[in-house]
Symmetry: C2
Subunit: 299 residues, 2 copies
Amino acid sequence: MIRAEIEQKFQSLQKDIISSLELADGIGKFKFDPWQRAEGGGGVSSILESGQILEKGGVNFSAVLGPLHPGAAKALGVAAQEFYACGVSIVLHPNNPMVPIIHMNVRYFETGNTYWFGGGIDLTPHYIVDQDATYFHGQLKNACDAFSPDFYAEYKKWADDYFFLPHRNETRGIGGIFFDRLDAENTGLTKERLFEFVMSVGESFAPTYTYLMKKNFELPYTDKHKKWQALRRGRYVEFNLVYDRGTKFGLETGGRTESILMSLPATAAWIYDYKPEVGSDEEYTLSMLRKGINWIEKT
Amino acid sequence: MIRAEIEQKFQSLQKDIISSLELADGIGKFKFDPWQRAEGGGGVSSILESGQILEKGGVNFSAVLGPLHPGAAKALGVAAQEFYACGVSIVLHPNNPMVPIIHMNVRYFETGNTYWFGGGIDLTPHYIVDQDATYFHGQLKNACDAFSPDFYAEYKKWADDYFFLPHRNETRGIGGIFFDRLDAENTGLTKERLFEFVMSVGESFAPTYTYLMKKNFELPYTDKHKKWQALRRGRYVEFNLVYDRGTKFGLETGGRTESILMSLPATAAWIYDYKPEVGSDEEYTLSMLRKGINWIEKT
């Protein structure tokens, strides 16, 4: 399996996801913004702003290559030589606070004789609804189970640990799956089969999220819900700017800023020491932002 | 000079600044939120929300002590032993986009036989007005010149380098002064005199900023100006969460999250690849967000 094949399939994935999202949104259209990287490669950022269901989001593809900077090599624990990296990254922020924020990433990295795949999908509801959480995790489990009986449990735990804000003692949302540095040796799957797994995760994204979009976008909401959404978006900003490895690595190594920060919401808010009312839906959501919840068996 | 004296003077400084800001604002009142730290010491956060001129901000005092964690000691380049740190930190976000955001910090740190002072003031106008920038830098120069003819130039450059967003290739605002790890040896001033300098910086804050508050808060503005303010606040969030050493150090070492993140604005916004109109005030501001501008001689 060669780079060109991975690149072509990731780029098709980007296009397919965009088509599905535009169809589900009904109004919003993605704008394509191709870019080149001086040191090698480039990408196509595709951004939607002001849709019917989606307020702001991106479905980005990139394939970059060139010399690995010493700092980056050190951070990755590999020798500083030529590298190649290719992937699709998605973050979508909806208008209606009853529709969750979603993130998806699939990526392939190669340097010297080493390669690995990484990726994941995680959901950040402004309001946690147990049935939706069960559905979401069930979809991810299906995508995993076809490849290994261990993947879902393992990568679900990885997501719980990764999408976590230590300074808030909160998970970002209800988690999902996260995996990194997967290769034939540590998974027992061939490289080809591993790529199929990664593609299967990528292909599960559109049906899973468009179901949640269509199910929830017409639910009524008030100013109180919008205010809470803005505060939760503030937390999303905190996670992405303080902890997210891809964001930090990208900004530090001179990545394309606008493509990296497409993950930030149209608006966000902060209130000093805000505490939701006792017994409110907001308080329920906060109480569920913790690791180790078995969402599949919750409902 | 002992800790108790520094602590008492910093706490008086906090109170004096709060009085001046409340007087200038006319409506807003700071709420005091005292807190204790399990390992030793504590602080008093004082937060204003929904004032007439100030929308959100904090004037925080803290004095903490205890064992220095290995990670923190490594970051500071000192031995991991007992430490003591005391300071006042301020960030203020105004309602009117014609009033600038301001930040001030004065601090004292001690471990083993080592001590140092640090601090600074920097201004982040949403719209840069040359005359205001000249006034602001002139005030800082006055505070510096009484102690050394070199301080202003040296600490102005330090601020230009520190309050900078590499991923945007922009300074945060028009800078100001920034200094760290000042002691008798590297400044040629006695510890007592150095503390007087730091207090002089702290005492210059209220008259300087309340002048800008009162001068600008009644200027007319439109939705276009509010939108630009929200985007500039987004950049402020990016600086504080990605680069600000105090914020990173605080969050990583288990500091009090709400006190640290009082620096974030009530609201912020992001638009993909936003570019202001050619010839607009917004474009002028962007063009001035760079290092090395001599603001004192600009007007």
